[in-house]
Each structure stands twice: as structure tokens, then as C-alpha cells.
Amino acid sequence: MSRNFDILIIDDEQVILDSVVKTAKLYGLTCDTTSDVKVALKKLEQNSYRLIISDIMMPVLNGFELLKEIEFRKPDTPVVLTTGYSSVEHAVKSLYSGAIGFIPKPFSIEELSSIIHRGLKYGDITKSMQNALDQSVFYVPCPAKYYRLGYSCWLNIDSDEYVTIGATDFYLKTIGNFNKIEMQEVNESISQGSICTRFISEDEEFYHHLLSSISGRIIERNDQLLTNMSLIEKDPYFNGWLYKIIPDELDQEIEYLIPCSSDRI
């Protein structure tokens, strides 16, 4: 019998399952859990879910392999990957493989609920898009010559020396309202897959982390955004940029980015 749940959680640790379920309940979300990937795949075929949260390091199938299976069975279900062995490499690989988010363990309730809300919103937008004729009603896709890390952080190669990064409109639409932006300082070094900007909601309930699309040293940041936050929502790809960065290893890291030109078929 087919059932509908908001979230499917796959993790071999019971305490993780319980933690996520408890957090989800705070927002009245229904959860299905399993510690077995094979069971998870069966459940996927029977039931429908709005969001899947899965561990990366699991026996039989790891998170990335599971991601492929989900892509095959339920391509529109957003997936969030998590792991105890958190590294920027895992984060980048998760987003590159099609996960909509990556959350390192141990996470706090705020971090978890933020990513759950973002995931659900992502699912809602994609679902409405399928029924609509024009995508641009929902969000502005990034310019063709740009690159993006997952669906969230764009990158534009301005010159041989530096690149500009920012948040995609789609990402901004999924995080909803925020009234505070926390940014890194100029001269700081950041890594591809590490947190570069935090978007914080009014009551500090949600912390949305934007993971950087590139490693390098920040040479300039868009300080206008700190005072005029609506700028990023109005013009996310040009005036709403976040940082100018001298990349460390652009040639290698660009391998993990998706060209935005592939969005317009």
C-alpha cells in the first residue's frame, strides 16, 4: 500500500534517525526511517517522499550510489547527504552528484531544520515547474557562461586573475526570507565546499549555509549586501554578487562545477 511521507531518513545509526524525526516533528512533518539501504530502495518504489536525508557511509550502497538509484527511480525527489566524516571533498562531491544539500554531522536542530525546509521548498518549486509552461516564473536561471556548484553557488570567470561567486536565484528562492547575511572577511582563504555565506532568518530559526563554488583568497566582497539585502534577490547574478576570489586551483575545481549552459536545452 502506498503511503505519503514528508521525509525518508536513511542512516545506520538509530540516534540519527531519532534526532531527525524529533526535529521534523517540531514542524509537523511526517517521517519514515530505515537503517538498511535495500529497504530504503523498496520503500522508494512503494511510497512517495518529499525529501530524502541519507548518510554517505553505509554498507552495501554508499550515499553517492544511492543518489544514482534515486535519480533512476524518483528523479524529482530532493536528497540531502550527511556524514560523520565531514570534509569539503564530500560536500563538493555530494552537490556535484545531484544532492541539493550536504550537512556534516554533528548538526544542531537549527542546521537540520534549515536544510529540511530548503529541501522541501526545492521539491515544491520543481513540482510546480513541471505543471507550468515557463520556468522563469519560478526563478531566473543563471547566465549561460556561468558555472554552478549544485544548484546553489554560481561562479563566473571574470578574468585570468579572479572569479566572482554568488548565490543562484533558485537557491535564494528555496531559503525563503532572511534578514541577516554573514560573510567572510576580505583576505580570508576559503575552500570549495566550505561555508562562504550564512543567510539567517528573522528569529534566528534558520541558518542557511551557502557552500563556496571555488577555493581561493577573497580579494573583494560585496559589502552593499550587508546593508541592502534585497539587492541579492533583485539581481543575484550581477549586482548581487558575493565575493571576488583569486582561485587556487581553478582548472581542477571547475571539474566539479556544472556549466549553466546545460540548463537551457
Partner: protein, 620 residues
């Protein structure tokens, strides 16, 4: 161990054969000479005898008293060693003989006694003593004999004698032939041969014995020792050392063997260390993974409780501690993972004093436990851009090193910070350098004071070689692979593409020699005098910036100190003075961090007085 080792046996055989060969040649020559002398003596003796007979029978011959002559010859012929005494006439007829049967017989002209004179068609009339002598064997069984003929010449008294037996026309009337046995000579020779043989055997035995002794001493013992050492090392005891000390080849072999085992032992130690580090990394990753799951439980449940107990401030306070401490644990685990993964540096504006204070709080307990008194003298420091965590690691490491050096007896550690202004001359390190075609001149393989040097090729009419220039601007600890004798025609070139690195528009203002010019990417060029020994160097774009501010931190302990011979090695990876206690990575990591920050670290130390580490960081 065999009585005669194989080398010994081979040597003995070789030496014995040589001895035998030398002795044989010597004996042959010696015995031949001895035989010659003896035979000459016999010959002389026989000749004398024949002259005596000739003279003693002369009178009887002239008187034609044949009976008398016969008696004399007979009497002489009875002498044991005289084989025959006979007188032959010219026709070969035996006229007188000690052997009466022989009288009247004719001798063939080819007979031994006659052959000498009658070999030619015309018989010889005058003969030397050597020619008159003959040595022969009458038959195979008997010993050799020496015959000597003595011609009896015609003289006036012969033909004037009453018997008129000889005419005056004849020159030789006949011959007196005496044959003497050579048996005594042969006996003597034989005994000589035996003596030589005995001598040879005795020498061989003696030489073998001496060789054996020598080999035992200089080969067997060290080889035995080497074999023992090899076996010991094969079993795994890399601390075994060969005691044998000698300046010969085996001594050297032993020395290089010891050297090899030492290197092996060092390498094994390093391998163990890197394995240790690798497994530590794996362990860290594993632990992090395992710990992060329960931490997630603690963190979510405590924040969950926090949400549910908003109306209970007392409980909130306690729960906040749990949340805070769990987040701290999360950072610790993250640090562990970063350590295992060598995380990328994150630079921020930092105050070094603050970093030091935080580092001190981390190890305060350890300081107290070891009764280490800490004194700090902080100057007002400007902020600089640096990786907070990495610098904290540096100071914690240095403090822990200081505590370890002080040991259980207690002591003091002084930390001083201050700002200095230094002209870049003599300090600024050239980290990038290239030729006009863009080839890097940085030589990571040849370091001066730990910094990669600048590699240039020097070429002149007759020499070509490599010079490694000191990478510190204004310091001249260059390494000359070749010596530049004549500066006027030798120039620097790029080792890659041979392009000339000379500024043709300029001469050294101090000695008028040619000036080299090396391109520093984004920082102009460094010029310097080509002449060996001339200390002129100019880096205009750096000089223009004037003095630069540096923050210096001194960490001074009064611990055990580091011996001079180890001081230069302390920044090497895997070098440790703490034995099994240390990984040998701490100071090399520190060096790497400081170098990454464009800083320098120096060390001074005196055994039993203490060690001072000085860290210099640019204010940027």
C-alpha cells in the same frame, strides 16, 4: 669453521706453486753450476794426472823401456776411480793400457776418444783442454765417465832416440787417454738435490703456516664478525655494530657496513614514524566518524530540550552548557580531522599576543604539573593576517617542547613579543625568480639555511658550471659549483635555456664588474655583482618600500638545550630528540607554517642552559 678457510687454501696453493717453481729454477741453476764446477775439478785433476803420466813415462819412452811404461800405467790404472789409462798411436792402435786385453786392439776413429780430433777429415793437432775432454756413458746402467786425451807431440829427442821409432815428420806421435768415473760427482749432485727438495718442502710448510696465521688474523676474524653481523641484522637487530677496526679494506667494509645498518635503522625508524602518522590519520578519521554520530544525538536532543524548556531559565542555563560543550567537542573532532587531512589555511586579522594567550591556556595544566613558571612580556602588537589555528599550533608545540626540555625538575619559560623594523636587505627571501624566458631559477634541491636557492649557470671561455645563489636579499652565502677566476668574461645564464642574465647597461658601482639581473615575478628584478666576493646587490622595488615591520616572538626555556651537532637538524621531518616519545614532526610542521606565513624561525641553544626559538612574522 674449517681449519683452513677457503681463501687460505687457495692462497697456500698459489704460494706453494710459486715457491716450488722458484725453488726448481733456483735448484736447477745452482746444481748445474755446482756440477760444472765439480766436473771441471775432475777434468783438471784428470788432466794433471795425464800430464803426470806423460811426464813420468817420458824418460822410459825415450829409452824405449816398454816394460817400465806398462808397469807405470798398470799401477796408475789400479786406482779405484780410474777406469782406464791407455796410450794410442796415431793409427788408433792401443799400445799401452792398464787393461792388458786391450793392448794391440785398434780403435775406430769414431770412438769416443778419437772423435774429437777426427771429426774433420784432417785431424786436429792442437786442442784446448775442454775439447780434449769428453763425458759419456759407456752403457745405460753405469754411471758417467770423463775421458781426457793428452796428445803426445813429436820432439827432437824422439826421433833422435836410439830406437828410431818415430820419424821427424810426424807432429803427433799418439795420445794418452785417461778415463775417470764421475760417480762421486753424481753422488754429490744427488745429495744436493735432496737438500734442495727438503728445503723446498720445509719452506712450503713454513710459508703455508705463516699464511694461515695471517689469514686467520686479517681475514678470518673480520669475515667471521661480518657474517655474524649480517645474520644478526637479518634477524632484525638493526642496532648491531661491528667492533672490528682496521684501516685495511675489510676494516673499511666493516665501517661502511656499520654505516649501512645505521642508515637502515634510521630509515626503518622514519618508516615507522610515517606509518604511525598514517595510521594516526586513519584512526582520527575513524574516531571522528564514530564520535560524530553520538555527538549528533547529544546536540539535537539538547537543543530540542532547550526549545521545550523555554519557561525554565534554570534548566535552560544547564542545557546551554551541554549545547555549548557539544559544539566544542564538534570543533575538537573537526580539528582531529583537519590534522589528519592537513586542512587549508584560513587567514584572518589576528593579534599574536591573543594567539599566545590562548595557546597558554590550552597547556596551562601541563605547565603547572611540570612546575614550569611562565613569564610573558607582551608589547603592543599590530594585527596581522595569519591563520589563527595554525599559529596556535605553533605556540602550543613550542611550549610543549619547552616543557619537555625542562623535564621534571621545573623551570621557567619566557615569552616575549615585540615589533621590529627591518630593512629588507639581509632579510627578505627571494621566493620566486625567473629568467627572461620565464624559466624558474628556484632550486629546491639545494637549500641555503633551509631555503631554496637560486640556480644559475656560469659560463666563460674555459669554464662552465652551476652557482647556487643565496636566496636572502643582501646575504652572500653562495655556493660556487665552479670557481670564477677571471670575472671579466664569465657571465650568468639560465640553466634551462641559456639566456644571458646580465644587465648590459650597468657595471657594479663598487668594482666595475658586470652585473647580473634576475627577474622576480611581480617584484621587479634583483641585480648583483658578478665578481666572486663583491658584496653588491640591489632589489629596487623592495628597497623602495623601505623598512618593514615584523612581529618577533621569543620563546625561551631554561631546559636541557640541544647539542650543536643536532641543532641544524631539528627542523627536519622525523628528527626527534625525544626518542619514542616524539613523532619528529612538530618542528617541521612549525617551520612549514611559519614559512607559509612568509616568516622565519630561528633557534639558539646551549646544552644545560636552554633553548630560544625566535619567530619573525611580517606585519601585513
Amino acid at each position: 669453521m674449517k681449519l683452513i678457510s677457503k681463501i687460505g687454501l687457495k692462497l697456500i696453493i698459489a704460494v706453494s706453486l710459486t715457491t716450488v717453481l722458484i725453488l726448481s729454477i733456483y735448484a736447477y741453476l745452482n746444481i748445474a753450476a755446482q756440477e760444472d764446477v765439480l766436473i771441471e775439478e775432475v777434468e783438471r785433476h784428470a788432466n794433471q794426472l795425464s800430464e803426470t803420466i806423460k811426464k813420468s813415462t817420458r824418460f822410459d819412452m825415450l829409452a824405449n823401456r816398454r816394460e817400465h811404461i806398462y808397469n807405470i800405467i798398470n799401477t796408475i790404472g789400479e786406482e779405484p776411480n780410474i777406469r782406464s789409462v791407455r796410450v794410442l798411436n796415431k793409427l788408433g792402435e792401443v799400445i799401452y793400457s792398464a787393461d792388458s786385453l786391450e793392448i794391440g786392439t785398434m780403435l775406430d776413429k769414431n770412438a769416443e776418444a778419437c772423435y774429437v780430433c777426427h771429426a774433420e777429415n784432417q785431424p786436429l793437432e792442437k786442442l784446448s783442454i775442454g775439447d780434449r775432454t769428453r763425458i759419456y756413458k759407456p752403457d745405460i746402467a753405469s754411471s758417467r765417465q770423463l775421458g781426457i786425451i793428452n796428445p803426445i807431440y813429436n820432439e827432437p829427442s824422439c826421433w833422435e832416440a836410439e830406437c828410431h821409432a818415430h820419424s821427424s815428420q810426424q807432429s803427433v806421435l799418439g795420445v794418452l787417454d785417461i778415463t775417470v768415473g764421475l760417480q762421486p760427482v753424481e753422488k754429490q749432485i744427488a745429495s744436493s738435490q735432496i737438500r734442495v727438495l727438503i728445503f723446498a718442502v720445509v719452506s712450503i710448510v713454513l710459508i703455508s703456516f705463516i699464511i694461515l696465521m695471517i689469514i686467520r688474523r686479517i681475514v678470518d676474524k673480520p669475515v667471521k664478525e661480518l657474517v655474524k653481523a649480517t645474520n644478526t641484522i637479518a634477524v632484525g637487530n638493526l642496532n648491531y655494530r661491528i667492533e672490528y677496526k682496521s684501516s685495511d679494506e675489510l676494516g673499511k667494509l666493516g665501517e661502511s657496513f656499520n654505516n649501512m645498518t645505521k642508515k637502515l635503522s634510521d630509515m626503518r625508524q622514519q618508516l615507522l614514524q610515517s606509518e604511525k602518522m598514517a595510521s594516526l590519520g586513519q584512526l582520527a578519521a575513524g574516531v571522528a566518524h564514530e564520535i560524530n554520530n553520538p555527538l549528533t544525538g547529544v546536540l539535537t536532543y539538547s537543543s530540542f530540550l532547550l526549545k521545550r524548556t523555554k519557561d525554565n531559565p534554570e534548566l535552560q542555563e544547564d542545557l546551554n552548557v551541554i549545547v555549548r560543550e557539544t559544539k566544542r567537542s564538534r570543533e575538537i573532532v573537526k580539528g582531529l580531522l583537519d590534522f589528519a587531512r592537513q586542512s587549508t589555511p584560513k587567514r584572518n586579522r589576528v593579534n599574536i599576543n591573543e594567539v599566545i594567550e590562548r595557546s597558554v591556556t590550552v597547556i596551562n595544566n601541563q605547565l603547572k604539573l611540570n612546575r614550569v613558571e611562565l613569564k610573558t612580556e607582551f608589547a603592543d602588537l599590530p594585527e596581522t593576517t595569519a591563520d589563527y589555528n595554525q599559529l596556535q599550533q605553533v605556540f602550543i608545540n613550542l611550549l610543549v617542547n619547552g616543557v619537555d626540555a625542562i623535564g621534571s625538575g621545573g623551570g621557567t619559560i619566557n615569552i616575549k613579543t615585540y615589533v621590529i623594523s627591518l630593512s629588507p636587505y639581509g632579510i627578505k627571501q627571494i621566493k620566486q625568480a625567473s629568467c627572461p624566458n620565464g624559466h624558474s631559477l628556484i632550486d629546491n634541491d639545494y637549500r641555503i639555511e633551509g631555503m631554496p636557492s637560486l640556480k644559475v649557470k656560469v659560463k666563460s671561455a674555459n669554464v662552465e658550471g652551476i652557482i647556487n645563489l643565496d636566496p636572502v636579499y643582501g646575504k652572500f652565502r653562495h655556493y660556487y659549483g665552479v670557481s670564477i677566476k677571471d670575472d671579466s668574461d664569465s657571465y650568468f645564464h639560465c640553466p634551462e635555456c641559456d639566456v644571458l642574465l646580465i644587465d648590459k647597461n650597468m657595471r657594479c658601482p663598487e668594482c666595475d664588474s658586470p652585473v647580473y639581473s634576475i627577474n622576480i615575478p611581480n617584484q621587479g628584478e634583483v641585480r648583483g655583482c658578478m665578481k666572486q666576493g663583491c658584496k653588491w646587490q640591489k632589489w629596487e622595488s623592495i628597497d623602495q618600500r623601505g623598512k618593514q615591520s615584523y612581529i618577533e616572538v621569543k620563546v625561551i626555556d631554561n631546559g636541557s638545550g640541544i647539542p650543536k651537532d643536532k641543532l641544524y637538524k631539528i627542523f627536519d621531518p622525523f628528527f626527534t630528540t625525544k626518542g619514542q616519545k616524539g613523532t619528529g614532526l612538530g618542528l617541521s610542521v612549525i617551520w612549514g607554517i611559519i614559512d607559509n606565513h612568509n616568516g622565519r624561525i630561528f633557534v639558539e641553544s646551549q646544552v644545560n642552559k636552554g633553548t630560544t626559538f625566535t619567530i619573525r612574522l611580517p606585519v601585513i
